[in-house]
């Protein structure tokens, strides 16, 4: 096995680097910049039961070392995604993770079932943590019982491994992680964005049309590292770590905290080549810090 390879439920990855959901569309745009085949995996933009337009614009605002977004889960609906986007990504032999979102348990179930019927999707990422949709998502992501419920239903609706994407907007992330692990989650994705806001001084109004948005970028990395580190101590299932990764040292830090793979989000906007660059730099970074492989580094921040 190569030094970069990692095996997670449903995902045999030649390296641990993937673009994060919502920051990469369905890959088409970035396929103009480089060969997606290089990626460890790809996480698609969220799919809901039917077509969603999302929030009004402005949908993004810049903050110190980060950005706020309130896209509002805009997507063409799961059927259209399966018809037009999954086949495009299936041209590349990399694991495809479908991000499943919904407003009701029935919608999550329906979306999960639809992806289960395709041959090309290798795992589901359960989106119970989008802070930008009033009626759904986040309500499942801030209550351990509801998070467990939706996990059970999605597990029953499909044979695919399920990674539950946890929200950082909770007081006790460990109890959320334990609840979804007990409910059958195969892995965790963490973290989603932190709920935030910015007010535009000249107009004295919030910049985002949705008023609040999800904070991402380097600003949230310490929060993500802390949460991955805490959760790693209490669960057995693997973690895909994300939150503010913008250089190869950040990747190593997430591995040390306990992540088995990482997703890169906002940094794609600054540098469309960030993912392949990180993949190229990772072997040197591993040896610089004394690791033989990615597997060797996972969780090493927790001591002997």
């Amino acid at each position: 096995m190569s030094e970069l390879a990692v095996n997670l439920p449903g995902l045999q990855m030649k390296n641990p680097i993937m673009p994060a959901s919502g920051c990469f569309g369905f890959g088409r745009e970035y396929s103009d910049f480089y060969d997606l085949q290089q990626l460890g995996a790809v996480i698609m933009k969220a799919a809901t039961g039917s077509n969603r337009y999302g929030n009004s614009t402005p949908r993004v605002a810049e903050t110190a070392s980060g950005m706020l977004n309130a896209i509002g889960l805009q997507n063409p609906g799961v059927e259209k995604i399966i018809e037009t986007e999954v086949p495009f990504l299936a041209n590349y032999s990399i694991p495809i993770i479908a991000n499943v979102a919904g407003s009701t348990l029935e919608e999550y179930e329906m979306v999960a079932k639809a992806f289960n019927q395709t041959d090309s999707v290798h795992a589901l990422e359960l989106n119970i943590s989008c802070p930008n949709v009033k009626e759904g998502g986040i309500q499942f992501g801030t209550n351990p019982e509801m998070a467990a419920n939706v996990t059970r239903i999605v597990k029953k609706a499909s044979n695919l491994p399920v990674y539950v994407k946890l929200s950082p907007n909770v007081s006790d992330i460990v109890s959320m992680a334990k609840a979804v692990e007990e409910a059958g989650a195969d892995g965790l994705s963490m973290i989603n964005t932190l709920s935030g806001m910015q007010i535009h001084l000249p107009s004295k109004k919030p910049i985002l049309a949705n008023q609040t948005g999800g904070l991402s970028g380097p600003a949230i990395k310490p929060v993500a590292i802390r949460m991955v580190y805490e959760v790693k101590k209490h669960v057995q299932i693997p973690i895909i770590g994300m939150g503010g990764i913008s250089n190869v040292d950040d990747v190593i830090e997430f591995l040390l905290a306990g992540a088995s793979a990482v997703a890169v989000g906002t940094a794609n906007f600054q540098n469309p080549f960030i993912c392949p660059e990180l993949i190229e730099e990772l072997p040197n970074a591993l040896s610089k810090y004394g690791f033989l492989s990615v597997e060797d580094a996972i969780g090493k921040g927790h001591g002997a």
């Binding site: 920051c23 614009t57 402005p58 993004v60 469309p272």
Partner: protein, 251 residues
């Protein structure tokens, strides 16, 4: 095709109130850019790139010129960049203005503030091809006026200012009626102006160039969308635009 390129700052000048004109040297961008396209410019210490439209393309000297208003911290920082420094940009981005079959025809350019530069790029290109150019340019005040002489070289040009400190007092829509006949219009500027212009000229064939806060700038993040009657209910300004047929989008 969009590439990530470094551009050399050849010249940077404040040409009007809080308005910077920057001449940037880069072979790929100067060779491939079209009027109406933009650069997604990275600024040290800022997470998001800034979309800035192209005002001049000089293939011979391999430069493009951009203008931007010093509106926030990012554009203020960019205005402090010195000649000789390099900036990173994705570009040329987006689709430019369509302009087929305009030989011997007349076009009207309607610009507001920092929406004016891409129209200059188009007007210059088309004037060289024998198209008759007319222009109405709106500014807030006398000290924010730029490119007046440059537009007058292309054709008949009227200037308006909101406060009446220069040119005609009022908005561009107050003087559009004075411009006579034309075959097609192109407009870029603040949303309220675009709404007024497209309403006033609804029986004319025209194109609008739109601006919105962008995330990725390449079509992946869905931040800069505009509602439409067709195409699944929305279009992406960064990738499908920034230029659209005036009747295609709901402003």
């Amino acid at each position: 095709m969009i590439r990530k390129e470094n551009l050399l700052i050849v010249k940077s000048t404040e040409i009007a109130r809080e308005t910077t004109e920057m001449v940037l040297q880069n072979q790929h961008i100067s060779r491939t850019a079209q009027p109406g396209q933009f650069l997604h410019i990275g600024i040290e210490g800022h997470t998001l790139r800034r979309p800035i439209s192209i005002a001049k393309i000089d293939k011979k000297n391999e430069t493009v010129t951009v203008l931007f208003k010093q509106l926030g911290e990012g554009t203020k920082a960019l205005s402090n960049y010195q000649e000789g420094m390099q900036i990173s940009a994705l570009g040329p981005s987006g689709n430019g203005f369509p302009y087929d079959n305009l030989l011997n025809k007349t076009i009207l350019l309607v610009g507001g503030g920092i929406g004016i530069p891409p129209l200059y790029c188009l007007g210059k290109e088309l004037a060289a091809e024998g198209v008759t150019i007319k222009a109405v340019l709106g500014f807030q005040t006398a000290d924010s006026v730029f490119y007046e002489a440059a537009f007058k070289e292309l054709g008949e040009t009227l200037i308006t200012t909101n406060d009446g400190s220069y040119g005609h007092h009022g908005f561009v829509t107050d003087v559009i009626g004075k411009m006579g006949d034309y075959d097609c219009y192109y407009t870029c500027g603040p949303m309220a102006m675009l709404q007024a212009v497209t309403t006033k000229l609804e029986h004319q064939s025209g194109y609008v160039s739109l601006e919105e806060r962008m995330g990725c700038g390449v079509g992946a993040c869905f931040a800069c969308v505009i509602p439409t009657e067709t195409q699944g209910g929305y279009r992406k300004i960064c990738k499908d635009g920034p230029v659209f047929a005036a009747n295609e989008v709901k402003l």
